[in-house]
Symmetry: C2
Subunit: 143 residues, 2 copies
């Protein structure tokens, strides 16, 4: 590593899914009338799908379901870290089989409700990168 | 705490800024032609402003600067956590005094460059919440 620069590497799609499956908190970005908004969500990654819950009828439900979303999971410490971004469309689960399957997933509710909606991201693209932070060449020693 | 529900509390604006100042990695959400996108960023919170760097001329710079953004910082573990969301507009720093001040901030570059642009979020609103995860009442014991 050249310690005067930041070292960034791309992660393969397979590496991205391993990290998605090994974590459970992410952030969902949505666009509401052209303005971005962002929400932390507890999720469950199984196979190549991302599953989370909404409470039906909430603003979060309104702006998420059936809309384009970007979903991010990361881990950082002082030396660097990694970030995975999933882009796709949030789709409600509708069939009894899908819902029964989702109900067995270890999803923690943010909002107490006994009538959750389950939402799956129909994934279009997954990208990931890892970074090692380094000294800014203009400020050696300041970090 | 009622361990059959999730316990959520709002954080005051002052509490939000304390947590923003004590952290350095966040996620920036933008809307690009109505579609959301999300990027991890290293930031510096000073007073009531959020500062980060872009590499001029990049896609990230294009979709961020002078646009509405949402910016999120959080911390979670298995028991719960907190999340702060800042909404506002990303503005480039233009005056020599602003840029000189920004150059002394401990900002780690994601993309090696010796010609960074400094961007400040003109903050419109800051909201925060803390959550204690709990058992889903329908699935006691599954978490």
């Amino acid at each position: 590593m050249d310690d005067a620069t930041t070292l960034m590497t791309s992660l393969s799609e397979q590496e991205c899914w391993v990290r998605l499956r090994n974590n459970e908190m992410g952030r969902l970005a949505v666009a509401v009338d052209g303005r971005p908004d962002i929400f932390p969500v507890n999720y469950f990654a199984s196979g190549s799908s991302i599953l989370f819950r909404t409470a039906g009828g909430t603003k979060f439900d309104d702006v998420t379901v059936n809309h384009a979303v970007a979903f991010e999971v990361d881990h950082f410490d002082q030396d660097g870290g990694w970030s995975i971004v999933v882009r796709g469309t949030a789709k409600p689960l509708t069939t009894p089989a899908e819902i029964a399957d989702a109900e067995s997933a270890p999803l923690k509710p943010w909002i107490p409700t006994d009538k959750p909606n389950f939402v799956r991201i129909d994934v279009e693209v997954v990208t990931g990168r890892a970074v090692v932070f380094a000294l800014d060449p203009r400020h050696e020693g300041t970090l």
